[in-house]
Symmetry: C2
Subunit: 342 residues, 2 copies
Amino acid sequence: MPVPALLRVLKGERLASPPIWIMRQAGRYLPEYRELRKRAKNFLDFCYSPALATEAVMQPLRRFPLDAAILFSDILVIPDALGRVVDFVEGEGPRLAPLMDEEHWRFDDPQRALQRLAPVYEAVERIKRGLDKSAALIGFCGGPWTVATYMLQGEGGDKERSRRVSYQRPHDVDALLALLAEMSAQHLAKQVEAGADCVQIFESWAEGLPEPLFRRLIIEPTKLMVSRLRALGVRAPIIGFPRGAGPMITAYAHETGVNALGVDTQTPAVFARGVAPPGMALQGNLDPQLLVVGGDALEKGVAEVLASFASGPHIFNLGHGITPDATPENVARLVDLVKAGS
Amino acid sequence: MPVPALLRVLKGERLASPPIWIMRQAGRYLPEYRELRKRAKNFLDFCYSPALATEAVMQPLRRFPLDAAILFSDILVIPDALGRVVDFVEGEGPRLAPLMDEEHWRFDDPQRALQRLAPVYEAVERIKRGLDKSAALIGFCGGPWTVATYMLQGEGGDKERSRRVSYQRPHDVDALLALLAEMSAQHLAKQVEAGADCVQIFESWAEGLPEPLFRRLIIEPTKLMVSRLRALGVRAPIIGFPRGAGPMITAYAHETGVNALGVDTQTPAVFARGVAPPGMALQGNLDPQLLVVGGDALEKGVAEVLASFASGPHIFNLGHGITPDATPENVARLVDLVKAGS
């Protein structure tokens, strides 16, 4: 049985035509997704329905010859399972009760929390059964710091309050990060057991941290998560995506134990290639705005990304998630351009 | 007459005890500033009053032995002078009529626009007269791209819409950036003529741009601004502060013509030192949250910044502006710690 192109690249192979998938490829830019989404009132209910989540995953694969499917879920299922109240406010994003306002931080038992996530693993099994063998199935979780910032300040936006709490309550924050690292490792292990071929850690909020904090809040917990995942016997490749980490991607790529590096929009491929361990697969990094803009700008942007990553193993992707105002036509054009090569 | 320490460092000298100033040192964390601010209803009226602006500048210098004063003004005086309506909404930040919604972009005559900024230069003259000779006087403007993003999308927040317009209307955006570069060069030249010893370009929104856009929207306009400033006969040192530029600070430091590099909170000093031209002064980069947190965390943070920048010319500063919830006591402690050395 042929190995999916994405997995070959993750093992260090350089392919003339790189495999491609798109962060948030199952999402609001697709009319059929917007239609499907109406079938659950609450966003987490949607994520926890194996049937709806599976259908969402399959939609983009029916339209485009993508090289991977990615589980449809959310990074905040972990705090939800731990007993924190997670609300998704339409058009505003998630809202949680901010931990930083509470004197004592208490969470539900991690093992019971994990049992609550059973529908996620059932979705992975269903997706795997329906997936063409040439496509890889990607599992995922949030980076411990990214998930912690939502839990600490109760919402997205600037992360200044989370950073402040990490100075003010270092022991509490470090304990939270260790808990999230352990829970996330077990969550990923279950996804792999259910059929995921590889996993991605979305450290979406890696920006703005002074080096000592970056090491404490991102590198150490990620290293812990990766080593726990390996201790659980999981051998699947891990893509780390520390968005906004800037020059700290060097330490992230070398010290956390991830096998591949997601490169954000603003990081030049040549820089990432120069600082990552030799032979490490890089994933990225087309500007998502080009899927709104289209035309010559899209064509030029794709050619630039292909050329700039060409010297080593490359998985084509955006540098950040696709936006709801991108058009399916531009996505189709993107996939054609990548499949045709530069 | 002794040369102010800040200017010595800008010329490449390494001082055992680095000079210090603080971005937004005249600001809302000071009770006397909050009191003074009440004397003008509109924020731009406050900026355009030479008496009020001068008093605001002097307030932190009375409290702390800082090595520099910085003009009190705003980067949006340029669009205001060009005839765009600029409103400052209390607690929300500036609001402008978004250029991206307009089919034709028209601006008032640049020479007349510059005349409208006469009160700014009068403030510089007043400040210079009242300033101790050991302190340097810093003039400033916004980077062309940062100012353009406010003009394009009408507000702060994410810069995705500005990036999109820069793909969709490349000629219009490039012409706007060239206009802003020229206006800003003349604005800085007038400040130096009025008494500023050096200037800083605040490119506060340098993040998130793919390399080709970073070159087009930040490096090229800044290079143009710097060369125009030199063509106007200005020899004062220029500090460039491309906040969030990540690995692109290398190109920024080498190609724009700036004399010193402002380093943001997340960029390790060792990285900046390694990629900047040899002997270039670096400015930064204490986490502003430490002036809220105080205590041991502040002391440790200051020691880390001092040690990490010690190998070359260093101006102590924050990695981003001081926040309104910082305390004057923590600022006093910071200045003491820096003056005492690590």
